[in-house]
């Protein structure tokens, strides 16, 4: 699986407005909604579900990245969006450092294997120092798309 298969490139937010975790989640879900990627589901309800999941255990796994996600019955196929912040977001990360790159993933409840594959694709790439650095330096949506395409090409 490639990042471009799950990330909605049009919905990428290169400069997140908020530095608050919950508002960032709302911004990203709203962007997916704006680009008609929520399969008709209510963005407010989905953002609430992601925040609820995040409150149970932070997905800020360190190194400036977070992967908020939820499985929801209104979603039929995994869909992700990327948001970048120049200022840093407090995600209650494991390493207590701010988050600069956010991958938000929405998955269906009835396809756990697809969710795992999507997570694997995201983490496999976030694992690469270069990819994290490119995301962190990106100022525009186009630069983020290029970073994603390069990462996908690296993965073969």
């Amino acid at each position: 699986m490639k990042l471009a298969d799950i990330v909605c490139l049009d919905a990428i937010v290169a400069q997140l407005e908020s530095t608050e975790r919950d508002k960032v989640i709302q911004e990203l879900v709203a962007s997916l909604s704006k680009h008609k990627k929520l399969q008709g589901a209510d963005p407010k309800m989905l953002a609430k579900a992601v925040i609820k999941r995040e409150n149970e255990a932070s997905t800020g796994i360190g190194k400036g990245v977070a992967v908020p996600h939820v499985k929801h019955e209104s979603i039929t196929e995994p869909v992700a969006v990327v948001g970048c912040s120049q200022n840093g977001i407090d995600f209650s990360s494991l390493d207590k450092q701010p988050v600069y790159s956010v991958f938000l993933l929405l998955s269906p409840t009835n396809k756990p294997d697809k969710h795992l594959q999507a997570m694997e694709t995201i983490f496999k790439n976030l694992q690469k120092d270069d990819f994290r650095r490119f995301l962190r330096q990106a100022q525009t949506r186009q630069e983020i798309i290029e970073a994603i395409r390069d990462a996908d090409e690296d993965a073969g």
Partner: protein, 102 residues
Amino acid sequence: MSKPIHEIEVEILNPEGLHMRPAMQFVDLANSFDSDITVSHQDLTVDAKSIMQMTMLAATCGSRLRIQAVGADARQAIEALKRLVEQKFAGDSPVEAGEKEG
């Protein structure tokens, strides 16, 4: 003196597979031991103490994982990790916050 090596094969029994929260439980437990611990799934071997690497395993329900520990507490580590997997990661809910929200 070479360090003790212990390993075991386990099967993931959770219907949802080894998603992020059980992976975190696994990583937390692995980190409580001094031994170096790796987990292999098919041809991929990762560091059991890194959540980023553990999530890369994409271990679905029914996946077989090989856990290897090298160090003075290798035996204890393997026993504890085996127990966690066999108990289906106690506390892992069947559906990740999938209930209807108002």
